[in-house]
Amino acid sequence: MNIIVLFLTLSAILFAIGIYGLISKRTMLRMLLAAEINFNAAVLALVALASQSTSPATGEVVAVIATGIAAADVGIMVSIAMLMYRMKRRSDVYELEESKG
């Protein structure tokens, strides 16, 4: 049995936990944290598979760019959550329905 299978299994477990958090929670920041677990799982799977490829540097480049983009999306999401909290005094995503447009 290849050890990469273990890495991919761990990635799948982390992804499942992230999906559970995204579905079961309704606080915006908690959902963001759950999405970050998903990101961690995805990068782990990417790196594990890149280690088996013929050019691991390509996987490394993709992982680096993905990490940078993830940092950017955290900034946006936290800013939106902060604005929503200032406007509504709560961060329940169901409250966003009233803020359409």
Binding site: L6, F7, L29, T67, I76
Partner: protein, 169 residues
Amino acid sequence: MIALDIALTLNAGTVLFFILAAAAVISAILVVEHKSLTYSAVFLAILGMANATLFVLLGFTFIAIFFISVYIGAAVTFILFSVTMFEEAPKVETPVRIVALVSVILVAALLAIGFSLNIGSEIPFTSPSYMELANLLTQKYGLALIIASLTLITTLIEAITIARKEETK
């Protein structure tokens, strides 16, 4: 190709993997289920650290460094500080302090044992060279790098604009 076809015998590398996997899974569960958002953000940082160590185990040292400096150092810390603005910082009670102290001692002992075993030499890996990485980043994936950089800049401006928006009355 990175050779990782090692048998699943209980060598030090495999033991380290299982310890890190357990830490990652427990941290992920606590990120979702912990009552305090502040602690959840801290557990996300621990999850990131476990992930970075797993990258080192696979031979990708550069990604591990980048992950710790950019993702944990910037993104998770940003979440942590923002979360403390939403809710009051949770009180640290004495039992928690004792648990934290015991955890620190256990982790220090574990790391000392791990390093003394010289784990890195047991897993055969060949990390891609930095020159190859730099060439790929600047030549083949140059456009992707430029787009990522522009995304980061626009995100920064957007985040400041959104956060400074006045309350609508």
